[in-house]
């Protein structure tokens, strides 16, 4: 299925969102299998790993938190790392806000559905967001994310080491595929390169999560009005 197939639609239905989310759900499901395995290696029980996926539903934060526990870190440090890794949802939510109807509580509740892939799928070129695309594509990804964790947590030991299988490459590859869809102009390409450079420059000096958050500042290039 083409990654960009649903992009031309201006206002989508929930079902459109589900359909557009399927490829990301499949990729995310593979990723969550490796999460189930990694979490158990870090000392979480199978049930804990599954519950974590079901109620946290934020892949990168879950991996970050579990990695810190595996290295002998405290629960506080693990939660702090999860917060930092998830800090990118703050600018994403600010961007999304005006496209959501209802009062503050309703918007906050709708904001819970944001995951990277669905946020990117729902973003339109004019800066607004397609709400049903967001909900539908998140829903199918939620199903596959929790299902994958169940598979990894219960049968993971039979799969062997996730690194031997190359499962650790799935997460960056997933975002790379999403990025390629987003690069529709020379300007977007420049901003992506700038964001990547900012993040790489900060990796040696900042805690995990901060490089990605600061990289979002590359989008301020958009303040300069010029032809795309």
């Amino acid at each position: 299925m083409s990654v960009g197939a649903q992009r031309e639609e201006h206002t989508s239905t929930f079902a459109d969102g589900v359909r557009a989310g399927i490829p990301f759900a499949v990729a995310g499901g593979l990723l969550s299998i490796s999460f189930g395995v990694v979490a158990q290696k870090a000392g979480l029980s199978a049930v804990a790993a599954i519950v974590m996926s079901a109620i946290v539903f934020a892949g990168s934060a879950q991996f970050a938190a579990v990695a810190i526990i595996a290295q002998g870190g405290t629960v506080g440090a693990a939660v702090a790392a999860a917060a930092l890794v998830n800090s990118r949802f703050l600018p994403m939510g600010v961007a999304l806000g005006p496209s959501l109807p209802g009062g503050a509580a309703a918007r906050a509740a709708q904001g819970q559905t944001v995951v990277d892939a669905s946020w990117a799928l729902a973003s339109r070129d004019d800066g607004s967001f397609d709400r049903m695309m967001l909900f539908g594509s998140s829903a199918i990804q939620y199903v596959s994310w929790t299902t994958g964790t169940v598979v990894g947590a219960i049968w993971g030991e039979k799969l062997g080491d996730p690194e031997t299988l190359g499962l650790d490459a799935i997460y960056p590859a997933f975002f790379l595929a999403l990025l390629l869809v987003e690069i529709k102009s020379r300007r977007a390409l420049g901003v992506a390169a700038l964001g990547a450079l900012i993040a790489l420059a900060l990796v040696p000096v900042a805690p995990p999560g901060v490089p990605v958050l600061v990289a979002s500042l590359a989008s301020l290039v958009g303040l300069r009005r010029s032809a795309r």
Binding site: R124, T164, F175, A199
Partner: protein
């Protein structure tokens, strides 16, 4: 504790963004910024996941795998093909190195 803490901070962050501006429309100038936020954030996620190992930068088998997956995504627009090729190439490079 760990799970509850992670769930709470995630929910709080996701709730804060949409209500931060009180539902007001963003000034026109900022819509261009928002449209460019996805490429900036996604590019940063890709390079930190593929090149960073803790606080060090390293090129490893996963870097080769992600590059191969990127070529597949570029050529075919298939995200499933992209992640499967990335995993296979990473596993292969790791096996022979």
């Amino acid at each position: 504790m760990l799970i509850g803490g992670c769930a709470l901070v995630t929910a709080a962050i996701k709730a804060a963004g949409p209500i931060a501006l009180g539902g007001r429309e963003l000034p026109d100038r900022f819509t261009g910024v928002i449209a460019l936020m996805a490429p900036a954030l996604l590019a940063a996620l890709v390079v930190t996941a593929a090149l960073a190992d803790g606080d060090r930068l390293s090129i490893g088998p996963d870097t080769a795998g992600v590059t191969a997956g990127g070529l597949v995504a570029w050529g075919t627009e298939s995200i499933i093909g992209c992640v499967i090729v990335a995993a296979l190439v990473t596993a292969l490079v790791r096996a022979i190195s």
